[in-house]
Subunit: 229 residues, 2 copies
DNA sequence: TCCATCTTGGAACACCGTTCCAGATGTGTC
DNA sequence: GACACATCTGGAACGGTGTTCCAAGATGGA
């Protein structure tokens, strides 16, 4: 690990934690979660494994740093002056889109919520959402539960959508989103009527639904619940 | 893979997909996610890798089968005759407890929701919850969104709780749940007041909260939202 | 009995994250 | 300018993983 002093580097091609994380994000974006290996990382950075390990403790820390960087960027703007509800929707959509752009985020966010509350990522999200919840007109005793529920839903739903998008692409890259939904809906309609009456009943809704819209619908559902109680 | 015909086996120590999955679940429960390797699996089953691969395509399929087995067991009973709300709460709690007993389920459920809707696990949960949603007195157009939101919240929240429990145990097995919460709450209270006012404000609630209660509180929040709209 | 088929065990392979260390590179001191 | 020193680098090597391959054992019907 670089010490606080002497961290200045003259060479422009010098390795740094930032350059490594940047390359890691790039690799994750283009080659997926399994595409990030120290082998290809050393190749792309034209260095050796030992050099990377000097700046980063292990692969877990590298993934955490990559996650943190992307989430921080996604949560960055947010200077608008809207109602708490709209603000929450905006934060949620920001995360949704970030996960959509970087599908590996889904797994990472789930995994790192665990190391909470020490990791840097989750507290940021929790705080951001919670501040808006407290601006809502609800009793303070409900803040913790309400915020937790919102964050759980947002992370869960965004992750699921991203995962679906990824697997759809992997299964057959030539098929677009509509074709994928159509195939899935048809599969649902062909389920056993005795075992899966409900799933069959909503297959049509599933065929025409829009991911973002449905995601926001879920956020509104939770928000309604929070305000109503 | 065993062919439909000739699958009868006389030897009592014969290998079978079921025996393999059973051993896998045991291994996952006792040694965690990283404890399931083909090496120790072959040892415990007193066989070779090739034999296992004849019954199971790869590790992913083995994990999926293990997940399916445990979830099916957790969702099995449910013959009670209660209100849709109570039924949903019961299913949610069943999954919550299953994840608590088998922490590796959290990761797996998230990962396998992806292969949805072809996997066997998710449709089961979706159908089970959805049936109760349709028994609620809400318009049919909302069924799909409502059920999706519920499932997303349940899976997300249960997974997070399990992950927290695991990491708490890993960090220091001697510290009990209360001690863990206390330490976490204290850490929250020591955050920068300017950056984390909300998190500091709810630290006390976090200290005394009960996982199951809060989980159910979230379910009720979503249910309220569904009914209110 | 014989043979086609199903099933097994284990050696071998490619690849992974990680460790180790010899040496290059830069920095401060006389 | 030269020396000592801490920082930083590249690559070989290690133990472990999931997976493949295949020769041999077991099984059941003709």
């Amino acid at each position: 690990m670089p010490s606080p002093t002497h961290r200045a580097q003259r060479r422009t091609d010098a390795l740094s934690r930032e350059r490594i994380v940047e390359a890691a994000v790039e690799l994750l974006d283009t080659a997926g979660e399994s595409g990030l290996t120290f082998r290809v990382l050393t190749e792309r950075l034209a260095t050796g494994a030992g050099a990377i390990y000097w700046h980063v403790a292990n692969k877990g820390e590298l993934l955490a740093a990559a996650t943190d960087a992307v989430v921080a960027a996604a949560l960055a703007p947010g200077g608008s002056q809207a109602s708490p509800q709209e603000e929450i929707r905006a934060v949620a959509l920001g995360l949704f889109d970030a996960i959509d752009d970087h599908p590996w985020l889904a797994t990472q966010l789930s995994a790192q919520f665990s190391r909470s509350p020490w990791g840097a990522v989750t507290p940021r999200i929790f705080e951001r959402i919670g501040r808006q919840v407290s601006a809502l007109d609800v009793p303070q005793e409900t803040w913790f539960t309400a915020t937790s529920a919102l964050v759980h839903y947002i992370l869960g739903a965004a992750a699921q959508n991203a995962a679906n998008a990824v697997s759809a692409r992997e299964l057959d890259p030539s098929v677009d989103r509509a074709g994928f939904l159509d195939a899935a809906a048809t599969a649902w309609e062909e389920l056993d009527p005795d075992d899966y009456p409900f799933t069959r009943a909503v297959a049509a809704q599933m065929r025409v639904h829009d991911d973002r819209e449905q995601f926001l619908g879920g956020v509104d559902l939770v928000l309604t619940g929070i305000i109503t109680r």
